[in-house]
Each structure stands twice: as C-alpha cells, then as structure tokens.
C-alpha cells in the first residue's frame, strides 16, 4: 500500500521517475529544519517544499525589510514589515498544501536550539552569522544528524555537508569566524548555493549519490568557476575532537 495519495503521485510524477515511489515516501516521512528564511533559506525552503519533504520547520525572528527583497524570494513587496516566519509560512503552504510547514518566529539561541531542532533528520544552515552556525553545528553533533552548510558573499559562495563522526565539523573547517560585516550580495548567489544545499538534503534523505562530505565546494560567480577543497577532521577540534573523537574514529573505520 502506498502512503502517497493519488494527488501526490501526480504532483511528484516526474521525480518519482527518478526516485521511485519508495523514494518519494522517504521524503514524505522526513523532517528538515531550516535555520533562517532569508537569502539561502528562501530558495532552500521553496525547493524542499515542492520536492515533498513531509515536514519543514523554518525559523526566523526577523521582519521583512525592503532591502531583503533582492534575494529573499519567499517575501514579496507586500510583505514589508511582516514577520518573516509568517510570510514564509503563507507562501510555502500555497506552494505545497500536501506537506506540513512549521514556521517559528523566534531567535535561535543556546537555550532553545536543541528543542527547536527536535527530531529533525537534518539541519539546513541558512544563517548569516557564525555564532548561530557554531550553535547549529553543536546541535547537529549532539543529535547525530547532518548539517548542510552554506554561506555567501557577493558572487562568491561555499557549501559543505557535515555528517557527525564521518566528516569534519564546522569548527574543524572554520575554527574562527570572519569579522561581521554588512555583506554585499546579489540574489543569484544564495540561489545557487541554496540549490547545492537542497540537493544534498534530497540525496541524504534518499540515500543516493555522493554527498559533499569532506569537501568544501567553492563557487566564484564572477569567474564562473567552481572548485573544491578537501577538508579533514581536526583531531584537536575543541568541538568534535575531544572525548567522543576516538569512538567516532573507530566507527568510521
């Protein structure tokens, strides 16, 4: 017996050609946590919604500002002044009424992060700052779920998939954050990096393909050049390198 309705089988017909009904059912059973409804979070949420991820939790505590509209495509001109969580929820429900959207208007912090992520199968890093990214990294390690990292500046972007115990954690790769700034950005860059992240989410949930694990993807839009760099666990990493490290190392062998 299929857990997909007739309507869903029609909606996802063209990707069922790729993943089969079983794959589609896996997506339907999945729950993904999207941290941020901005430049990365908007396209990630839209594409995961249309792909039929059963439950999407999207968290953002901001209000839509006119300066967001060049890239944060979940929010429209009419939404200026509205809570981003509300604006995102409205659009995502319309985009796909067959999935569950949980939009939460709260600032992710030390005290609430673990509870917010709950039993999600993975965390999409759609944040714009390293302190929150490091927090999500720790939650992902604690829960043993992947963190799909993405970040951008101007026409330049980076992405990697962090799998606890199998890849370096975010702090192994980026031990120190760059200085905070008002970063320049044009919407196409987060659009592109978000698609790398969303593709990773789908492959992880479907258990198919090669993940962007132990590799940092770098995109330079100005040069139209993609490159990648091998990244390794730091045995001395203060976040993932102590205590559990030996055990994780053995598991990987």
């Amino acid at each position: 017996m299929s857990m997909l309705s007739r309507r869903e089988r029609e909606r996802y017909k063209r990707q069922i050609l790729l993943f089969g009904e079983e794959g589609q059912e896996r997506l339907k059973k999945a729950e993904i946590f999207i941290a941020g409804a901005g430049g990365l979070g908007s396209p990630v949420a839209i594409y995961l919604a249309v792909a039929g991820i059963g439950t999407l939790t999207i968290v953002d505590s901001d209000v839509v500002d006119q300066t967001n509209l060049n890239r944060q495509i979940l929010h429209y001109d009419r939404d200026i002044g509205k809570r981003k969580a509300m604006s995102a929820e409205e659009k995502l429900r319309e985009i796909n009424p067959d999935i569950t959207i949980r939009a939460i208007d709260v600032h992710i912090d030390e005290a609430n992060a673990g509870r917010l992520v709950g039993g999600a199968d993975g965390i999409v890093d759609a944040m714009d700052n390293y302190p929150t990214r490091y927090l999500l990294n720790r939650i992902a390690l604690e829960k043993g779920i992947p963190l799909f990292h993405g970040a951008i500046r101007g026409l330049y972007g980076q992405a990697t998939t962090i799998i606890p115990g199998k890849t370096p954690c975010l702090s192994c790769i980026f031990p120190k954050p760059p200085p905070a700034e008002v970063f320049p950005v044009v919407g196409v860059t987060p659009g592109l990096i978000a698609m790398v992240q969303a593709t990773e989410v789908l492959k992880f949930l479907l258990g198919t393909g090669n993940l962007l694990a132990n590799r940092l993807f770098l995109w330079d839009g100005m040069q139209a050049q993609a490159s990648e760099i091998c990244v390794e666990r730091n045995p001395c990493c203060p976040v993932c390198g102590t205590g559990g490290d030996e055990e994780a190392g053995r598991k990987g062998e």
């Binding site: 941020g36 901005g38 430049g39 990365l40 979070g41 890093d125 759609a126 944040m127 714009d128 700052n129 390293y130 993405g150 970040a151 951008i152 500046r153 101007g154 330049y156 972007g157 980076q158 790769i173 980026f174 031990p175 120190k176 954050p177 760059p178 200085p179 905070a180 700034e181 970063f183 950005v185 987060p190 770098l218 330079d220 040069q223 490159s227 760099i229 091998c230 990244v231 390794e232 730091n234």
Partner: protein, 92 residues
C-alpha cells in the same frame, strides 16, 4: 621552482585569481604569501594583521591539506605545490 597560489573570495578580488610564483628554494609558506600579497596593500591587510601574522580566520591549504598558521612559518614550499588562501564567507 613554480608554485601556484590561489586566492578565493575577497582575497581574490584584491590580489587576483591564479598566481604562479617563482620563489627561491627554501621559501616558507607564510613568506611566499606575504611576498605575493605585498602588491596590494588592501589585499595584504585583509590577510595579515599589523604584525604580519595571518589573521585568525584565514584558511591556508597546501595541496588540498590544511596548514595551520603557526606551521606556515616553517613549512617550506616545493616545486609544483598548489597553495590556497581564503576567508570563510558568512552571508546567508
């Protein structure tokens, strides 16, 4: 001796994309980057602090392997090496 130096992101904007350097034998990683970066003051300052030390967020790679800033002062580069220097980006 030829060493390929690749900058990324902001460093690339200031210092160029792909640079083939020809350092004398015995040149260490950090000295090579200082020399290459010297052509653009803003680029140099983006990578190094006032004491000429790598800024703490700068990521250094040699042939795909991470090099710690402290080791970069002792690691001698070799012919054919590929060196990458980049800052993490933070926008979202």
């Amino acid at each position: 001796m030829k060493v390929r130096v690749r900058f990324f992101a902001r460093f690339r904007e200031l210092l160029g994309t792909d640079i083939i350097a020809e350092p004398p034998p015995g040149t260490v990683f950090a000295a090579l980057i200082r020399e290459v970066a010297r052509k653009n003051r803003e680029g140099y300052d983006a990578i190094f602090d006032g004491h000429g030390a790598f800024r703490e967020f700068v990521i250094l790679m040699r042939n795909g392997k991470r090099v710690e800033a402290a080791d970069a002062e002792e690691t001698v580069v070799a012919d054919g090496d590929e060196i990458a220097v980049f800052p993490p980006v933070s926008g979202g």
